[in-house]
């Protein structure tokens, strides 16, 4: 057997918890060669991030424990190297893009500095490192790179932060890039750019790319090989084509068949009085206008999808409506009353009817509360919803509905995977059975099968309880399956809105057209064809 650039052999990782041991990774083996892209697909919570962290030596031991296995990098076992040697490898030879950009960026340092630090930590002169950082920021498509260098993480949108994370990892052109869900928060056009950037680097430096993703389209687009994980084990491996067409393991088959975007689009609905209608909603950050007068309505029981460019102000709309930030102008009429002028006391009354799933699930869960406490807090706040004796039962029910286990109720947020946390956040929003839920990239970190399950759940709630959704997403197939109407945003403006059929079948605006065209198909064959077309077009 030839020496691989990176090889995992029989890796097992477990965690100590109050409730016993959690076996996160069990006997996982895979390898990655120079210039190759290996995709890890799999169920949310199946150990993808943990195995990647093991490569980076980032598992806290204890409570974590690597019980078996080897991680061979150019033939050397990383697990036996001393700290100094690991440090030399980290960042320079192997870099990682973390799944959860917000918490992985240091809140108190400007992002330019943080990106440059990757280089300076390995001896690059500061000047050079800054230049490189600036270049990378520009490369990942952040507007006004010079200003961005000096800004702090909280001043960026979710997708922008993810791209900063990418820039940080690429700073030293590593030999191996471990990308943990690098494009979950990116709209398809930006995603395409980022993927092509990665591809370019790969060609240029022979970088090995380990891509953890749930997006079959991405796999189809760039992966050379893929492995599928479930429950801490690798259940199947092969080329994307093989997996897509000839999957043998039932889980893989379930995954493939769950790929969204193939269902019926929802029929147009008769107009009714809107639940929420925004008029001229504006938000300025200093001299920068993040939102330039958004106007839209949300009807009761409808799903309004908001798609658009990363950084176009989608999350801002949500934050303004919920009064998490004060708007610079405009109105947000909730059943005819302006939310933006309500006093905190009045606002508290409406809150029950208006819930949100945040884009960064990790940060939105209180790390000191158990899952049970997090979800049941809704009822503790609104006493009339559910008697206390039924809380536990209902929490378990909600957890099961979003694909978690009842016993997860007593765990704490940090003990979950990214996708699991996102589901906890969803369960929390559902607990109150509000009239409107704003989902900000609420299913982006879920593998397609769970995603399908959650979407199904949301759909059921919409139909049965008449809950309306504002569904901020970049995943067009999901939007296509779930939304009633679609709103397209770009640069702080709503460029187009209409029924889902109208947008998907007959987009008017060029941006919308571009967006739709950039979508990736889960079928590697289709995707290969498109790629060829694209290349031909460029030539």
């Amino acid at each position: 057997m030839a020496e691989h650039l990176l090889e995992l052999r029989d890796l097992s990782v477990r965690f100590h918890t109050a409730r016993g041991l959690v076996q996160a990774v069990q006997g996982v083996s895979w390898h990655l060669d120079r210039g190759e892209t290996l995709a890890i697909l799999g169920e949310s919570g199946s150990g993808k991030s943990v195995s990647a962290s093991a490569v980076m030596n980032l598992i806290d031991c204890p409570p974590g424990e690597i019980t078996s296995g080897q991680i061979l990098f150019e033939g050397r076992d990383l697990l036996t190297l001393n700290e100094e040697a690991r440090r030399e490898i980290n960042g320079r030879r192997i870099a990682m893009i973390f799944q959860d950009p917000l918490s992985h960026l240091n809140p108190v340092y400007p992002v330019g500095w943080q990106i440059a630090e990757t280089a300076t930590a390995h001896g690059t002169p500061a000047q050079e490192a800054r230049a490189r950082a600036r270049e990378l920021i520009a490369r990942v498509g952040i507007p006004d790179p010079d200003a961005a260098m000096r800004k702090y993480p909280h001043q960026f949108s979710g997708g922008q932060r993810q791209r900063l994370m990418i820039a940080m990892a690429l700073a030293l052109k590593p030999d191996i890039l471990i990308a943990d869900e690098p494009t979950t928060a990116l709209d398809v056009t930006v995603q395409a750019e980022v993927l092509s950037l990665l591809g370019e680097l790969q060609r240029e430096t022979g970088m090995g790319l380990l891509l953890i993703t749930h997006d079959l389209g991405v796999v189809a687009e760039i992966a050379d090989r893929a492995v599928v994980m479930e429950g801490g084990r690798i259940v199947e491996a092969g080329t994307p084509y093989d997996l897509y067409h000839n999957a043998t393991h039932p889980y893989t088959r379930k995954l493939i068949s769950a790929a969204p975007g193939r269902g019926e689009m929802r029929a147009d609905r008769a107009p009714v009085t809107p639940l929420l209608s925004c008029r001229g909603l504006r938000k300025e950050y200093g001299s920068f206008t993040a939102l330039k007068g958004a106007e839209f309505d949300v009807m009761p029981g409808e799903c309004l999808a908001v798609v658009g460019e990363s950084g176009s102000g989608k999350s801002t709309v949500a934050r303004l409506v919920l009064r998490l930030e004060e708007a610079s102008g405009g109105q947000a009429l909730w059943k005819g009353e302006d939310l933006l002028t309500k006093t905190p006391r009045e606002m508290a009354k409406v809150r029950r009817q208006l819930q949100m799933v945040f884009q960064d699930p990790t940060q939105s869960l209180n790390p000191r509360m158990s899952v049970y406490e997090i979800i049941s807090e809704a009822w503790a706040i609104h006493r009339d919803v559910l008697p206390k004796s039924r809380w536990r039962g209902r929490v378990q029910e909600l957890l099961e509905q979003v694909g978690l286990k009842p016993e997860h109720a007593d765990r704490y947020p940090h003990q979950f995977s990214g996708g699991q946390r996102q589901r906890i956040a969803i369960a929390r929003a559902l607990a109150l059975e509000p009239e409107l839920i704003i989902c900000d990239e609420a299913v982006s970190a879920l593998d397609v099968s769970i995603q399908a399950q959650v979407i199904q759940l949301l759909g059921r709630l919409r139909d049965e309880l008449g809950i309306a959704f504002v569904f901020i997403a970049h995943d067009l197939p999901v939007v296509r399956d779930f939304a009633d109407r679609v709103l397209v945003m770009q640069k702080g403006e709503i460029v187009e809105q209409g029924s889902v059929r109208q947008i998907f079948d007959a987009p008017r605006e060029p941006y919308t057209q571009r967006l739709l065209a950039a979508g990736l198909d889960p079928d590697p064959e289709v995707q290969a064809r498109r790629r060829a077309e694209r290349l031909a077009l460029q030539a």
Binding site: G91, N106, T118, Y152
Partner: protein
């Protein structure tokens, strides 16, 4: 920023005036300086005369009006005990106190931050336990113990440093060493605690993934995030020093403002009390402003 400072200056001025009014009236409720200043066998006539000279016979409001009037032209009145302008006496002492506080707090901050951070980084290790224990003992031991034992050992026994007084740099060593101990212990503990929490953050993992060395991870990445409570406590301890390090001043014969304040309070030398409070309050107000600015500098999320 400028607007914030301006607003702050106004509100601080109001509180300073409030403080002065409060101290002026409350302190005058606490007894007659004549009884304390004059010898116990002084006659009533002498006392009357004394009160007349110092304007203590007038109604309180008249006295207050006069005081404020004088204050407007920066006349802080005379010290009864010292027969000198109160502000002069106070500034003399305050200069010493300020130096002492500055030097001590600088040393404390440096030492405590480094030690506390390292202890947190190696939580549970022998180093951590030892650093915690020693700093705790220092912080909870009576300060005069340390002072007197230090004098007995280092001055009388070993003859390394002078026992007390002022003059050379050597004279500063013991007072600073004694003053150092309590804030050091407290701040080590606060740093250690805050760092412990901060070191568990995800961005520390990012830094490790970048291959950043331990030292910058501790002192650059994490420390700044842990600094908010730390500088607050540093401020509190500095304020305590600015208010006067009484024990050190009495034991080491250090001419600071602390003993002056105590003597003035015990002797009801109102003008000195007021002047001293105004000067130290001003220093503390400015320091708190600086600390509030430091919050914003340290953590961009607070800047709004």
């Amino acid at each position: 920023m400028q607007r914030m400072i301006g607003k702050r200056a106004v509100s601080s001025l109001i509180s300073l005036v409030g403080l002065v009014v409060l101290v002026f009236f409350l302190s005058r409720l606490t007894g007659d300086p004549a009884a304390l200043y004059l010898p116990i066998d002084a006659s009533e006539e002498m006392r009357q005369n004394f009160r007349e000279i110092h304007g203590l016979n007038d109604p309180l409001l008249v006295q207050f009006g006069r005081y404020i009037g004088d204050l407007a032209v920066l006349d802080f009145g005379e010290s009864i005990r010292k027969a000198r302008p109160a502000i002069e006496v106070v500034l003399e002492g305050f200069a010493w106190t300020l130096q002492l506080a500055l030097i001590t707090m600088t040393l404390v901050t440096l030492a405590a931050v480094v030690l506390g951070s390292l202890a947190a980084f190696r939580v549970g290790s022998l180093f951590d336990r030892l650093a915690s224990m020693l700093s705790l003992i220092g912080a909870s031991a009576p300060d005069f113990w340390i002072a007197i034992v230090a004098i007995v050992v280092f001055s009388v026994g070993l003859g390394w440093v002078p026992t007390s007084g002022t003059g050379t740099v050597w004279h500063w060593i013991l007072p600073i060493a004694v003053l150092f101990i309590r804030p050091f212990g407290l701040i080590v503990q606060v740093v250690r605690g805050a760092m412990l929490t901060a070191l568990g953050s995800a961005y520390v993992k990012t830094a490790r993934a970048k291959g950043v060395r331990n030292r910058p991870i501790i002192f650059v990445h994490t420390l700044r995030n842990a600094m908010l409570p730390v500088i607050t406590v540093i401020g509190d301890q500095a304020a305590a020093l600015l208010n006067g390090a009484v024990v050190v001043e009495t034991i080491f014969g250090f001419p600071g403002v602390g003993k002056l304040m105590i003597d003035s309070i015990l002797q009801r030398d109102f003008n000195v009390i007021l002047a001293a409070i105004m000067v130290t309050a001003l220093a503390i107000f400015v320091m708190n402003l600086l600390i509030d600015i430091a919050y914003a500098l340290l953590d961009p999320r607070i800047r709004t």
